[in-house]
Symmetry: C2
Subunit: 463 residues, 2 copies
């Protein structure tokens, strides 16, 4: 945990945005795997962590704006518990660790909220994403568990998103540490990308590294020789010489901040000329996109720049045709680059995604496109100093998508479908780094993980 | 997955126990970590796995007893999904894999159930353990999500427990494979128990091994130099020479069967005489308990035999006093051995615990004791051929419990509190293996993981 002053400051800042009301942050509970007592690794809710820091189940944090008071509600351990669990801190001591003055048993929370509601106090809460929470909050507020989520507070969402979007130095340090773990993970993957090993051998090794240096992986790693399948969580294939291995994996720091890195590695350690051609396009797109990053730039324009470079590269190879700008305007590049360039990062690897992408990545000045590909862009709005997000262009040859487009002769003025067929079994390439917007430009966070063709090849042979 | 004949046979056997009604098995859904799209490793519900085999989210399996029909309800992937996820099997094909004739979209399940209910058909379902499921089932049946769990079918619970309790050869083979993974994990832990390393180094390594050879760990491993704290999931301590490291860890096979092994290792590879004295008592208790196992024996008697051997051993060391049989009758041993000797194992590491321990471990002939210690015994009833369970006696010196008892001079005729104080910082020792009840006796499953003092010491030095 950070120093308690940090949490006090964060809550003060949030409080300033409200004239009245009660801000309720429900911490997460244990999540059962296959029966109540066998639970997944506990993960605290990220907004709770941001304002109340404690990585412990069954807590609720409250900011009472009207009375200018803060509360921690939680479970007070009994002597019986302590016999089984060892010495446990008192609730008041936990509250003190995050600078909260008042604490009480969670069993009194319902009565506490009821009294407030009866006085006409508005209870602000964030969107819920676990069924347990729908039940819990509905029970606390005597509301309908099926409908309560619709009552999440837009005002609180907007205030939290505004605050969490700008990363403080202690947060950036955590992301850098998560990136140091990612460095170890990805350079290990590069050394392990040998024919005969399986995707799962690497998957298991990366999980082990992430657990040994931090809290574990920040999301299911994608370790796949079928990188063209974007949502691919299967990792049972054997690595074959000549295939490209997409490794999209990050770690969580001890303070629950994420990293999210992708590298694409030639199985056997040597890119073919054809692979190199595509790889260099993706890398050029990424470097140029990163170079544009500074406060005031709209991220949708960064995305479109990357798309144009991809289109230009594919035109040079004869896979696309026509003018790159027009091709991108028409959305033709999306056959090969169908996803967004990046997303916010922080306490969540897709930071604050649970609060709503429309608040995190868009605003009144930037509306979501409806075009295939561009519609998937998670972050489009104007960049501010302190934003941290991913930059992850890619080129994929997705047989199912190619067939779909080809059958309709979609955008045939920009796509050379005959040439595309030659790449049908190519797979996919993605290169991803994590970027901080600084006052005047950007900083690529973390130690440089090999990404030049020659560096990736050299990393394969490193001892 | 097993051959579809196995699932057909299991469902046939279950069906025979019902004259009428509809048996509904809800499969698990994805479980969000910190926002809806970032999910934990998917784990299918164990009873769903047992009867319908498919390790895929968002399914429901139905056995319609009256019409003698079976159904699989699930999500039919769209072309859009396939673009992102790669080729996906059709629902009908999934159903076929487990020998189910009928399949339909999950969106039609509510209507299907409503029609049945309107005809007076009783819907039998098992207890729910995830909030999402309370909401889902309540929505399907137009019921109250807060109360629906009380309507779980006792008849279905009893039928499922009876069937799942007796393991078939293909299940035992899976448990043996999970134990082979455990062998790799525990011998690795023995080699790693070196001063200067941390508990977490071992924790991470064991997780990596479990993922590389199977589905990962079957429960949070306990890797602790404070083994006296029974529910200890902290693993941040550094290993110190002279301490005992309790490693309680198991793996899940590819077919989702568990192993659950405990070994206690002297940090630095050499037991002290004092450690050896206690260790040998635990080991003797375990061996004698295992030797008693055969059909017809009540497991509570196996537990009490282990307790008596522990009491006798502690009397010999002067820690307890009086007659071992009387001490155990009075419950005095429970200061040092406060938990049960074992629990059922299978698709859940505490097999079927979510269905209710009163059904799994107790029956009309065997009621739960109220005595401290014995009350925690999960499996007490008469053993049958085909049962698989753990045998895990232990001796612990729990400072908080010692203080509690000593203050009350509890059972002071059996406990030499002055002598106990000498062991205050001893820690704990537990030794656990997994046992199958055979037709005439028992079989300790899996490869022998070092447990004799000399073997554990030798394993520390193995390359």
């Amino acid at each position: 945990m950070f120093d308690h002053q940090i949490y006090i400051k964060r809550r003060e800042e949030l409080k300033k945005k409200f004239k009245s009301g009660l801000l309720l942050f429900l911490g997460n509970d244990e999540a059962p795997i296959n029966y109540p007592a066998n639970t997944y690794n506990f993960r605290q809710d990220s907004s709770f962590l941001y304002y109340f820091g404690l990585p412990i189940p069954n807590l609720a944090g409250i900011i009472d704006v009207d009375e200018n008071k803060e509360y921690l509600f939680g479970y007070e351990y009994t002597l019986e518990d302590i016999v089984w669990m060892g010495p446990q801190p008192k609730l008041a001591e936990l509250a003190e660790r995050v600078g909260v003055q008042n604490s009480d048993s969670i069993s009194n929370l319902k009565k506490f909220l009821k009294t407030k509601v009866s006085k006409g106090v508005k209870i602000h809460f964030l969107p819920l994403y676990r069924g347990e929470h729908n039940l819990k909050l509905a029970s606390l507020l005597d509301d309908d568990p099926f409908k309560i989520n619709r009552k999440a507070s837009k005002k609180l969402i907007e205030a939290v998103v505004e605050q969490r979007s700008v990363k403080a130095p202690e947060e950036i340090a955590e992301i850098e540490y998560a990136l140091e773990i990612a460095y170890q993970m990805h350079t290990t993957a590069m050394r392990m990308a040998k024919p005969g090993l399986t995707e799962n051998d690497i998957y298991a090794a990366l999980n082990g590294i992430a657990l040994s240096l931090g809290n574990g992986v920040s999301f299911h790693p994608i370790i796949s020789i079928n990188g063209q399948t974007l949502h691919n969580h299967f990792h049972g294939n054997q690595l074959q010489e000549g295939k490209l291995l997409v490794c999209d994996a990050g770690a969580e720091s001890y303070e629950f901040y994420s990293s999210d890195i992708t590298r694409t590695i030639p199985v056997g350690g040597k890119f073919s000329q054809r692979q190199k051609d595509i790889y260099e396009i993706v890398l050029t797109a990424q470097k140029n996109a990163i170079n544009m990053i500074k406060p005031g730039v709209k991220h949708v324009d960064v995305h479109l720049t990357a798309a144009k470079i991809i289109a230009a590269g594919l035109i040079q190879l004869g896979i696309m045709k026509g003018n790159p700008g027009e091709a991108v305007k028409a959305g033709a590049h999306a056959l090969f680059f169908p996803h967004g360039l990046g997303h916010m990062m922080g306490l969540d690897v897709h930071d604050m995604e649970g609060l709503g992408e429309q608040y995190v990545g868009y605003d009144d000045k930037t509306k979501r496109s409806e075009q295939f590909g561009l519609a998937y862009l998670r972050l489009a709005k104007e960049l501010k100093s302190g934003f941290v997000f991913t930059c992850e262009p890619g080129i994929y040859f997705i047989p199912e998508l190619i067939d779909q487009w080809k059958a309709k002769k979609k955008l045939k003025n920009f796509i050379n479908y005959d040439k595309v067929e030659e790449y049908r079994n190519f797979g996919g390439i993605r290169i991803e780094d994590n970027i901080l917007v600084t006052e005047n430009g950007y900083k690529v966070l973390g130690r440089l993980i090999p990404k030049e063709v020659s560096d990736v090849e050299a990393a394969y042979n490193a001892v």
